[in-house]
Symmetry: C4
Subunit: 299 residues, 4 copies
């Protein structure tokens, strides 16, 4: 029996006060779903007061997104698909457009083999318009190491979030080299088959980095309020939502995107009341039965 009252959703994203633990994940090539792609998605997220992430795989340029969403809270995600100068120019452009943080995507250096796409002749790159230029050289990404993080974290005052972290070793190395946030992600499971689940990675990283208070985001298959609760109980500060937002975009543009976030917020609220959680700090691992999970991973 828990007196939840009306649940409280207050939290923070670096210095910004937030009223939801939900973030929009960056997804590329959104003009294939809606003429204005990322511009429209941003409009929907902003309507629901959700921080939205876009990046170098976006079809609409950051300045186009910003021009049309003056009040948006933005994260810019850089895939290291070019030389250092190109990456730094991306950061400068993000600073100019007043983003909250830079995310550096580390887990998708090469296109994975997807035979269904080959069979259906599907190629996202050929559908929809583009105002954001194609990254110059993906293979450059094979050759970067931790010194890149060190270099960039000195280059900008924006907090740098490492996206695609799955091991505590990488988390620690990242922090040592200046990262201010960890984004635990396996790129939707679409890049490295049979890789770690983000729930395992989150559990493992939180266990090994107990003392660190570093901002943590997680993504991967979140579809309903109790999915969010599980990730928050495992120790994440925020969760990122991808695919559902695109469904919203496809069906009804920015209104669809916003509707998705309202549904998720309502599910979260409802589940918090019935589950007896009164604010974001009331989530912790004691509320989870982790037996099967631990057996599965041998932990």
């Amino acid at each position: 029996m828990s007196k939840t009252g009306y649940p409280n959703f207050k939290g923070s994203f670096f210095n910004l006060k937030t009223d939801s633990p939900i973030l929009l994940a960056p997804m590329g090539h959104q003009t294939q779903f809606h003429r204005d792609g990322e511009i429209e998605t941003c409009k929907g997220a902003t309507k629901s007061n959700i921080i939205s992430s876009f990046g170098t795989q976006s079809r609409m340029s950051l300045s186009d997104i910003r021009k049309n969403n003056k009040k948006a809270k933005l994260v810019w995600t850089i895939f290291p698909f070019g030389d250092l100068r190109w990456i730094k120019n991306q950061i400068k452009d993000a600073e100019k457009n007043n983003v909250l943080a830079i995310a550096l995507c580390l887990d998708a250096n090469v296109r994975s083999c997807r035979y269904k796409d080959l069979e259906s002749f599907y190629d996202a790159r050929k559908i929809g318009r583009r105002s954001n230029p194609i990254s110059p050289n993906p293979e450059k990404s094979y050759f970067y190491d931790w010194s890149l993080i060190k270099n960039l974290s000195k280059f900008t005052k924006l907090p740098i979030i490492l996206k695609g972290i799955l091991t505590s070793e990488d988390a620690i190395r990242g922090i040592e080299n200046g990262a201010k946030g960890l984004w635990i992600s396996n790129h939707g499971g679409r890049m490295f088959n049979s890789g770690y689940s983000t729930s395992y990675a989150l559990y493992d990283i939180k266990k090994k980095l107990k003392k660190h208070k570093i901002l943590t985001i997680v993504d991967g298959g979140i579809e309903k309020g109790t999915d969010i609760i599980k990730y928050l109980c495992l120790g994440s500060d925020l969760v990122a939502i991808g695919r559902p937002a695109i469904y919203g975009l496809n069906l009804n543009g920015s209104l669809g995107v916003s509707k998705i976030f309202e549904i998720l917020k309502n599910e979260l609220k409802t589940a918090m009341i019935n589950g007896g959680f009164n604010n974001l700090k009331s989530f912790n691992q004691d509320r989870l039965l982790l037996g099967k999970f631990k057996n599965q991973y041998g932990i």
Copy 2:
């Protein structure tokens, strides 16, 4: 090899002697299934000498149910969807109608998100007649804490059963505040997705409350005699049956309800003979192979 003779089903519900470990669970809005709803269900349960639970979500008022079922053994279930005065009036009314106990439902403070219902435009509240008034204010329930139990247990001499208990912490707090019974339930799994199973909760509570002799009821998915046996072996005194009784009601009114209880009693008897149990005290955890169960929950 066990000499079972004809199995003995003697037990008790507080001071009442019983001849079955089966209880009718409270279910709301029964006039959608039969014109006389709860009145008819009660008739069926009473015909089979089964204690029947109804409550503030019932469509037929307690006095209507009682008027038509003079010999019924009743439990009245209160959802705390109003202020303290309203709750106390419910108890006074229950006392007047000579119920055996009050159940307080703690696990369903807000309607959960059910998209299939939205898609089918199904709303139980709009189907069938009503003589029991709608509860005044569900949101009141968000603000109660353990002092409610303390308050009510002093207010009435009826034993108070806490319904929706899933953790030993809540069980202990409940007992400390005057509860006389624990009803382990997750509201049919329909309120908090991914919540605890009642079999886990029962196991855990029995382990942690070994010394307490508090009356324990459990529900959740009981469909046949061996389901009952499993819950009794885990340590429950009684089991509550919901959905199957409604099937009976729908098909053949009180005769259908009674038939369901006769089927369950016969299955229980048959399984006891072949399984070598001669009375309700012969059930215990040693008869269960709990390996998979324990691995699942990490216990």
Copy 3:
């Protein structure tokens, strides 16, 4: 790498030398599948030199079976569905008909609830002819205890096998009271829902009765050669085959029954050669990976 040569199948059933670890399990009401029912099944088993079990649920009387199968190696299975005098008369009749052993069926005292049979109006008892009389009083079985075994084992020189043993406690009590064989069975899983598997029971009994050399038979779902190997590795001396033999009977009478046994013998031989087993003594638990099995049962 194992030099198997041609595998050797020599074993024994009490004093009888056998050339196969396979037994025919007792099944009732066989005239529903073939006019001559048990007589014909016995003919098929005998053709393949397989010991065959029949019993008080048989449709054809023991003397009819014997009259038509002079060289058959027989076990007579008694369900204790009558008073002591009736049981002793069954044993006397079995002695007269020169059976190898008596099996006493302890796990099927009451007909279990089977709704599919009710729906299809299927009742084995109404199909096919009968020369073996119906047992006088099944409810008598509820009242026997271990003294029955003691009594009968003094009454006859035939070895008594307890059929339906699932726990080491029962196995030990049985041996103490004079039983000479253990038949680990859950009656095909059709009597007590959610009961122990026979593989678990066999494992548990063999572990707890290490020193005892008592003859052990097991049944339950055996369909192919490697099923037999698994039970033998778990420690059984023989396995009993039921359902497949009936399929054979139904399709082609005694020739069908015999064909089934030849198929199973060939599968056993083939699997022994490729698995590197050269005789029945080469089976042991070291050849099994029991991890999942042990986790499942918490052992």
Copy 4:
């Protein structure tokens, strides 16, 4: 974050330097899929610089395969289906045809029972032409023991690989008797039902033979790049591919076979870049989450 650069695939097969950890597994009766059967398969593998295995169950003789594939890197696989003289003649013929190694197949001494083949009247032996003679006497294989390995390893300077090894006991005995390679295989799971998986066997053998540096090959269900990575992480030096190569052969002869190997190489490369592996030495068990695997096998 791992600087993979362009992954390096250098390895070795005894004294030969290799540029892929992939091997073609031996499969019999290939003329049923293509007129030139093994000759054509070898041509495809050779085009992709893949070592290819054929053997005594091949339809085309070794000299035919060699004549048409002068530069092929070959392994000759002998099923011990004849007397010692016949086996030694096979080895002499292999030496003459300049093979890299002899594989001795130990796990398929008798044809297993396959009812689908019986039902469809499928018999590989009756389809397609043959220039390699049928082995004289499969039953001879039942009678060989470890002395065969000792004898043959003295008879030839070619390294002898034992194919079909599934236990550390056999691995050790094999090495003691002169084997220079272990091929962990369960013959595609088609010979001994319910046998060990090759992943378990590989894990177990590597654990128990830590000090031995013996060349290890594994096969079993490899269909994509990450399957290869898993086996290499478990400790194998090479993996053998069977079925996919036959699909390639069937669809487009040697070009199809080569295409299959190019697909697998590309998947391996892609997965290595995204998984952060830069060469074949970067694979090890620390990259695997073995919890479920270990629970399954009780290790």
